[in-house]
């Protein structure tokens, strides 16, 4: 649907370099990265608000680089929503219809539909400055959706909302994607949100793409240290691959993995929630090749789960277990614990410089 082909752009003190991206029809595509990584700039490049210096931007295989913003049939919803302060909610939503050849009747019909779906009926006559964050967002979405855009671009759609509205807004975006069959590109720095919403994505760091693909793949098989840390991979240890097994540097431990990569040296990572506690009443995974006995050295509560550190010889494992274990299984520092993780949860990746 949208393809970025080797796009580069240099600002003073910042550069976007050789970006290749393909966004497919009906994708919910996430551009993920820390603040200042250049992900919002990519959104503005796709929208046509910022010109790029080299490369190609294709839309349905046609070059879109020279198309003016207002002709692209893309819609962008900004993080701060950018509602027109002098117009009522209704007039904000109807703003664009005249430029898309939508008749007045049709426009009002769509307005009706959208206000029903988004629950905006009661606030149609209000001015934006009287709205809550969640309401503002829904108005901004309605203003974009009424035009039936080919692609919806979202700039950090959830970060300006209070935590109370967070869950609701997330569900709304998911619903829009599913019900309207829309292609969505979202910028986010929160991997939890991305996991919930997107099906594909790209991790961006310092103006370059680190990794792109299915969200599950990014999450489970990060191919660089940066991506691994960013998606919450823990238990990252330097490793050496010997005869199909992983040997941790500075330890005798040999670890089984299901996918043996074609490298000699790299890093091993295991997601903390993939490390299970072998104990009466807790998980008993069928196949637990990798078993370690150790001592619990730290238990820290993280809301619905607890972060537990287990020391086994010279190795330190970090696991995330349900909070209930504290009560039901008397997890506490100083206790012995046997932990295990399946070969599928052992991920090997190379250390890349960025």
């Amino acid at each position: 649907m949208i393809r970025l082909d080797n796009i580069s752009l240099t600002f003073p003190g910042f550069a976007i370099e050789n970006i290749d991206l393909t966004i497919r029809e009906k994708d919910f595509f996430a551009l993920i990265g820390p603040t200042g990584s250049g992900k919002s700039v990519l959104l503005e490049i796709i929208m046509g608000l910022i010109p790029f210096s080299s490369g190609k931007l294709l839309f349905k295989e046609k070059d879109m680089g020279q198309t003016p913003v207002e002709k692209r049939r893309l819609a962008l919803v900004y993080q701060d929503f950018a509602l027109f302060p002098h117009l009522s909610v209704a007039h904000n939503i109807l703003y664009g219809i005249r430029y898309h050849g939508i008749k007045k009747d049709e426009g009002h019909k769509r307005l009706d539909d959208l206000t029903n779906i988004l629950g905006l009926k009661r606030i149609l006559d209000r001015k934006p400055h009287n709205l809550s964050g969640g309401e503002k967002q829904r108005v901004a979405l309605a203003r974009a959706l009424i035009l039936n855009p080919a692609v919806l671009l979202l700039d950090e759609p959830l970060s300006a909302l209070d935590p109370e509205f967070h869950g609701e807004a997330k569900n709304l975006l998911k619903q829009i994607h599913q019900d309207m069959g829309m292609t969505i590109v979202m910028v986010s720095h929160n991997f939890g949100d991305v996991m919930y919403l997107a099906n594909r994505g790209a991790v961006i760091h310092q103006g370059r793409i680190c990794q792109t693909g299915d969200i599950t793949t990014l999450f489970e098989k990060p191919d660089s240290l940066f991506t691994a840390r960013f998606v919450g991979m823990k238990n990252i240890m330097p490793a050496r691959i010997l005869q199909g097994n992983v040997r941790i540097e500075g330890s005798d431990a040999v670890i089984e993995t299901s996918v043996v990569p074609d490298i000699e040296q790299g890093y091993m990572g295991i997601r903390p929630e993939d490390i299970v506690l072998l104990s009466q009443g807790a998980d008993n995974p069928g196949n637990s090749a990798n078993r370690f006995c150790g001592t619990i050295t730290r238990v820290a509560s993280q809301g619905m789960f607890v972060e537990v550190r287990v020391e086994s010889g010279s190795l330190n494992f970090e696991a995330a277990w349900p909070r209930r274990y504290l009560r039901d299984l008397q997890i506490a520092p100083g206790r012995e614990a046997t932990i295990a993780f399946s070969p599928q949860s052992v991920h090997i990746f190379q250390h890349q410089p960025y």
């Binding site: 929208m47 003016p68 913003v69 207002e70 819609a75 950018a82 027109f84 302060p85 005249r98 035009l147």
Partner: protein, 251 residues
């Protein structure tokens, strides 16, 4: 608080004293003086002309300065602020030196039938010179207070640049423009030093006040001064009210 009192007193006591000085009868009598009325009307008319010309020529410049970055922008901004710093009679002399017939430009002007010395054209030119910084800076601040993202949002919704200006930028900044016109006009009304060089006649109100002061003394200049000050104060109050409503959208 107590330390601030001298400043407040300095700014208010003389004005109050002066406006309450002349008797009502004298003020009324002054209004009957056709020359006074004419001078005040002329001051207001020429100043408003300067304000409107500032609007016509200053608006594009303000937008440029608020929205674009270009080499030499700092210098242009400096030039805009310059008139505040130029001694007032010098402004008059500089404008007059434009029109000298010894120069090509001067000859060109008089060839066009444009006279500066002692004409309304000359006065308006001088008034624009002293008033334009007030217009440009006010309207520039107005444009700057409209987030670029609002204009971008409009364009993503299909509106071209002109439509975006008409439906988003203008509704959010016309108050600043009115404000700028009033400020420029008020500044122009108050000008004396530059005007008196370019044109003693046709006589503006400040020149008349000066003339009456030198010819007949303080007492006879006061009534005219009071009427002029009431006009300025009226403009000033409109201005303060406007400027509150101009910022209301930008909380």
């Amino acid at each position: 608080m107590v330390f601030s009192l001298p400043v407040i007193l300095l700014l208010t006591v003389p004005l109050i004293k002066m406006t309450t000085g002349p008797s009502l009868a004298m003020l009324w009598e002054t209004l009957g003086d056709k020359d006074v009325l004419l001078a005040i009307a002329r001051s207001l008319g020429l100043s408003l002309t300067a304000g409107l010309l500032a609007f016509a020529f200053g608006t594009p410049l303000s937008y440029l300065l608020a929205r674009k970055d270009f080499p030499g922008k700092k210098i242009i901004e400096g030039i805009i602020d310059l008139p505040v710093m130029i001694p007032h009679p010098v402004v008059g002399i500089a404008i007059l030196s434009l029109a000298g017939r010894t120069h090509a430009f001067g000859r060109f002007l008089s060839g066009m039938g444009i006279e500066i010395m002692g004409t309304r054209t000359g006065i308006v030119t001088v008034l624009i010179f002293v008033g334009i910084p007030f217009y440009v800076n006010t309207v520039k601040a107005g444009f700057e207070s409209v987030p670029v993202r609002l204009e971008y949002a409009s364009r993503t919704l299909g509106a071209g640049t002109f439509e975006t200006f008409r439906r988003v930028t203008l509704p959010l900044t016309w108050r600043h423009m009115v404000l700028g016109i009033i400020m420029c006009t008020a500044r122009a009304i108050s000008e004396f030093g530059a005007v008196v060089i370019v044109a003693y006649h046709p006589m503006t109100a400040p020149v008349m006040i000066y003339e009456r002061f030198t010819a007949y003394g303080l007492k006879y200049s006061q009534p005219v001064a009071v009427w002029l000050i009431l006009l300025s104060l009226a403009l000033f109050i409109v201005l303060r009210m406007m400027s509150r409503s101009a910022v209301q959208y930008h909380r």
